[in-house]
């Protein structure tokens, strides 16, 4: 037993640095650059035409880009991600805060610098979703306060993306790559950095299964369609698949061996997802539709288990604590 553990430890040691560097250079850093590009394009589009119909496509592109790195909650993202994606919002802070700002025409809605200090409930992708898709907000006209607010929100999102990208590229990447070197107080060994990234992969899939899918499913007697993530824009299923694919790709980057069970699990997830009838999960009150969403949830968990088996086990890694451990 002890021999086996020592072998695991040495495999982890020799592999840790290479896998993490791969994940960083091929996945994480390009992912943040992609999010900056997409959110900058959204802000530019809003500058040209602020109305909701004009911004839905670039907003979706920005959300797609976010899913590549959105669940990696390390370094600058540890806190920074919260103002990009404030969700779930069990107490309705987003509509309350937006209504308050709009009815009072609060000056921060026209002031990029001041806007960086407003509640995260009014910032980021989910606040924008309500402005672009919810009937309570989406009817704003060019030249109105709502229009200025959306322009500020998109500019703020682009600024956040740029700050996250440079925070990773010019700062935290070095912390990860220098894991175990003298002076690195965050990661005392390459294995610690590896475990940190590995934990993000598993946490992402757990969040997708338990929250992105679990919230709208509710209980059989009481499904909760409006608790789905991004249901207003109909992105709920798309987010599940993109987030799962991003987690899978990160896992594959961490390994330098083939992961056939993981790849097969991802393929099966895509197959069962194709049978879901409403991509916003608004039909989960129908038992047959509900079952199809439950099957998707099962396959997200199967993907999680495949990654534990094909990546965690050979490396002797157990996941660390994740930021979703609270209730």
């Amino acid at each position: 037993m002890r021999y086996a553990l020592l072998l695991c430890a040495s495999l982890a040691a020799s592999h840790a640095a290479a896998g993490v560097e791969d994940a960083l250079t091929h996945d994480i850093l390009p992912g943040f650059a992609g999010f900056t590009a997409a959110s900058t394009a959204l802000a530019e589009a809003a500058g040209a035409d602020c109305t909701a119909p004009a911004l839905r496509a670039p907003w979706n592109a920005a959300f797609d880009a976010w899913t590549r790195i959105g669940d990696v909650r390390l370094g600058p993202s540890e806190t920074g991600a919260l103002s990009v994606v404030f969700w779930p919002d069990a107490r309705g802070f987003t509509p309350k805060t937006l209504s308050r700002m709009i009815s009072g025409e609060e000056p921060a809605g026209r002031d990029l610098e001041a806007f960086a200090h407003v509640s995260i409930a009014a910032r980021g992708l989910f606040a924008l979703e309500q402005m672009l898709y919810d009937d309570a907000f989406a009817g704003y006209e060019s030249g109105s306060y709502g229009c200025a607010l959306v322009q500020t929100m998109t500019a703020d999102l682009a600024a956040q993306a740029g700050a996250l990208e440079s925070g990773w590229r010019d700062g935290f990447a070095q912390v990860i790559l220098s894991a175990g070197e003298a002076g690195n107080a965050t990661y005392l060994s390459p294995e610690e950095a590896l475990r940190a990234v590995y934990t993000q992969v598993l946490s992402s899939l757990e969040f997708t299964a338990d929250t992105r899918l679990g919230r709208p499913l509710g209980t059989f007697e009481r499904p909760r369609p409006t608790r789905a993530e991004a249901w207003r824009s109909g992105r709920s299923l798309r987010n599940v698949l993109l987030d799962a694919a991003a987690a899978k790709d990160l896992a594959v980057a961490l390994a330098d061996w083939e992961m056939p069970a993981t790849e097969a699990a991802m393929d099966r997830l895509e197959q069962v997802a194709a049978r879901v009838t409403d991509p916003a999960f608004q039909d989960v009150e129908d038992p047959a539709a509900r079952l199809r969403v439950e099957i998707v949830q099962q396959h997200v968990r199967a993907l999680h288990d495949a990654i534990e088996q094909e990546l965690g086990l050979p490396l002797g890694l157990t996941p660390g604590f994740n930021s979703q451990d609270g209730d």
Binding site: L82, A121, I295, A302, D305
Partner: protein, 418 residues
Amino acid sequence: MKRATSTALALLLATPALAATDKAAVLDTYADIALAGYEDSLTTAKALQEAVAALIASPSEETLAAARSAWLAARNPYQQTEVFRFGNPIVDDWEGKVNAWPLDEGLIDYVDGSYMESDENEYAALNIIANPQVTLAGQAVDATEITPELIADTLNEADGIETNVARGYHAIEFLLWGQDLNGTGPGAGDRPYTDYASGDACTGGNCDRRADYLKAATDLLVSDLEEMVAAWGAEGDARETVTADENAGITAILTGMGSLSYGEQAGERMRLGLMLNDPEEEHDCFSDNTHNSHYYDGKGIQNVYLGSYTRIDGSAVEGPSLSALVAETDPALDAEMTAKLDTTMEKLGAIKTAAEGGFAYDQMLAPGDEKGEELVMGGVDALIDQTRTIERIVSALDLGGIDFEGSDSLDNPGSVFQ
């Protein structure tokens, strides 16, 4: 060379036999601290029960103030038990009965006109105290008599909504203080004692029903805490479960420490509230007691690591500690953990000191308040930092890790719906 290797291996293999601290004794200390913490929580809850009876019998500024003091005193030992929650399913399943939060208080009693119903909870403004007959999730509910059973079985988490918190410390807190309508400005809730007065002196309406609710909720708190004292007693379920398997038990201690530090306290309770700038997002929002709530949460984490708890009567419960166990494996790692726990207590202490000096926790959450942000984030960063060391301890102690055998979907793909 060969001999050197085998000697090193022999030493390595011999180390556990030489260990002075055995895991079973560490687990006994842990369970003893849990028992003492829940006993102290029960003792102070019974004092609260008496103070509430006095308030209801003769409402006055003095009896209301005494009930509030009793509530505050009851919180300190309870918060130190929160570390037992994560990692002990028996505690986690029970915890929602006593400490659920945040709550839509409009379910219970009158609220200010600016209070908005939430998208997710159509009962957020139900006001059971004013309404003896209500409909919940399609069912007519007779709330003529406000009893512990009505609160526990019908109102709490009504319609499966977690913010329908009808029982526990925070429901009682709301009934003693009322809403804090000062936003991020100074001041806590300011419910007048006349909310419990009889006849024409009654304010807020339905004073007798409010008194019934307060009494019933306090009685429930006492019986809930009795349940947890029993669970940690000599043959209690919680004690037997955590001591059944040494490695699993030590893992449970560390899981409780790490999950409370990171996801729950640093994340959900502190950082999120700060980033939402919402004064309702403070843990003890009616009484402005959040600084103590956070401080004693942190203290509980330190207690279980050091194997020492100071009881409300000043006596100590202590014994073989996790700290000693870690020190035998890696003294530097134990020193790192001890130092980080100290740092956290210093940062949480700074929040407590500032609040006691008049800078309340909800004021720290005000948008753009740099001093407040620095104080709160100081606590958050220290809690996150100590989590990393807890992870190191999990690795260093070789506790067996994850049970991969439990994965049905891999061992038997047919078990997953296709």
